[in-house]
Amino acid sequence: MSSGSWPLWEVFVRARRGLSHVHAGSLHAPDREMALRNARDVYTRRQEGVSIWVVASEDITASSPDERDSFFDPAADKVYRHPTFYDVPEDVEYL
């Protein structure tokens, strides 16, 4: 079996309860159940996690580095999108 014949999977591991799943890496596996087991063996063998997600790499739609300027730069000067931009009047309750 050649190494190119198994699809690639992205692995997300939650380190402990209350945290989000974080991308840990990728691996090859013939199907989703085996991908989950391989992820257990490759990425949690030193007690790194309590929960694993695997996603077929081809199912992930990713932003392109070419689009970086149009995607992300316009947010740089929108300081009013941060709550710290606003002064909260002292007599406003429940805020």
Partner: protein, 269 residues
Amino acid sequence: MTEQHTTETVGADPGRVADPAFDYLLGLGDDALIYAQRLGEWLTHAPQIEEDMALGNVALDLIGQARALLTHAGEVEGPDPVRDEDDLAMLRHEREFRNVQLVEQPRGDFAHEMARLLWFSTYQRALYSALLTSTDETLAGVAAKAVKEVDYHRDHATQWVLRLGDGTEESHDRMQAALVAVHPYVAELGEDHGAARWAAEHGVGVLPSSLIDAVNASVAGVLEQATLSMPDAPRWHARGGRAGVHSEVMGYLLAEMQHLHRSHPGARW
């Protein structure tokens, strides 16, 4: 081998007094140790690096079980002087090992290994589940940790047997051929031997014959789901491992496993 292969010496440990408590623990520990040695051979030889990791993890789980069991065996054997895990693993001769012949067999192809792992881990799961209530508290403790490990080993083997059996025509045929090849080594897992009878009588252990039917039924369930068939009863089956009688390959395995320790006693890194 310089030992005489007469009926009088078969099963005898030269120079050591038979002690069933020690012998029973050796059987458990040696199964894990020798199978770990075989599984370690898969590193860099499995179909994918991910499978290298999986089988390496299984082997390390088994090494951990072997360490605990052999250490305990040495304590049970008693003083004058106490043999530790390394003494028992690295300085015993072939005829002093108590593992079944199943675990010492050469690794064969990947289907052979999955057939062996499915049967052996199903057996270990039944065994360790029964040992949870052992009157030997150390053994019960080892079993409590190990039962979770072997549960995963069994799942891993099951997943692969399902995929190979219910995969392509070639994978199905090779998986079926592997089952036929491994099957003659299964019956020995269920054979009662002197140490096991002693252990069962004293609440320390369990009779292998009380486990094997459930083990075979569990494996049969996986095979059915995988569109495979349980092989017919073999005309020959392995026996004698619990008495120290091993197949030819065992000597080569021990030579590789033990040579470093024997060449450089106490070597560490």
